[in-house]
């Protein structure tokens, strides 16, 4: 789709490629969100995270989110990629880069996309610890997010 990249990658995420994708002579602002595995979660040392992903649906959700952003901020260029697999501390798990004519919409668009991704994308974190068994993290339920065009039957 023109000016939208929505993907899942098992290779390291490439910040330079994302910036090149959103490059536009008419856009004076580029903002990025780079999600990175940190070494501590709720006071517990973390050694890495495995990201489980349902790729076909994740790519569809990312594309829908990008189209929503372009509806709100016309002309915006959007790059969204999420990593699938294991990353040690410091690894890049998600990359969102947008460009727009001015900084206000570039900041707002980037913030919108990462907040929506956290609520909607079919991605699951399994945290690994240096001194204990791994754990799947709790998250946001997707129940109730079904397309309203198909209504549940009463009862």
């Amino acid at each position: 789709m023109d000016n939208i990249h929505a993907g899942i990658s098992t290779a390291p995420l490439d910040i330079a490629a994302a910036h090149a994708f959103v490059d536009d002579a008419g856009h004076g602002a580029v903002t990025s969100f780079v999600g990175v595995v940190r070494n501590l979660h709720e006071g517990k040392p973390v050694s890495g995270i495995h990201y489980d992903v349902y790729p076909p649906l994740a790519e569809k959700v990312f594309t829908e989110m990008a189209l929503e952003a372009r509806e709100k901020w016309p002309g915006m260029k959007v790059f969204i990629e999420h990593f699938q697999g294991y990353l040690p501390v410091g690894g890049i798990s998600v990359l969102i880069v947008v460009s727009a004519p001015h900084r206000a919409e570039a900041f707002d668009g980037c913030r919108y996309l990462i907040e929506e991704l956290k609520q909607r994308a079919p991605v699951w974190k399994r945290e690994y610890y240096p001194d204990g068994p791994s754990e799947w993290l709790p998250g946001h339920s997707l129940r109730g997010r079904e397309n309203p065009e198909v209504e549940d039957a009463p009862g």
Binding site: L57, A121, P122, V123, H140, E146
Partner: protein, 83 residues
């Protein structure tokens, strides 16, 4: 009518039950019936997790009362935690 054949893929915390399960359901079964049949197969202790999951195809989330038909490749999606 022929029974429904469903391949249900597991993600996140559901992977403790494997990567996928093949289920046979009576014709006319709904997503809710699929959920009940799954709990019957893997055990009542999984009911809370199964009920927190959405059921999806590779392109959309399915409604609870939606009728299934034909062969299905579906996914059971626990609460999400990406980013």
């Amino acid at each position: 009518m022929n029974p429904l054949s469903v391949k249900l893929r597991f993600f996140g915390a559901m992977r403790r039950h494997g990567d996928a399960l093949d289920l046979q359901l009576p014709a006319g079964s709904s997503v809710a019936d699929l959920r009940r049949e799954l709990v019957a197969l893997i055990g009542e202790e999984a009911a809370t997790l199964v009920n927190s999951c959405a059921v999806a195809s590779d392109s959309r989330l399915l409604h609870q009362q939606e009728a299934l038909s034909g062969e299905h490749d579906l996914a059971l999606l626990p609460p999400v935690s990406g980013g």
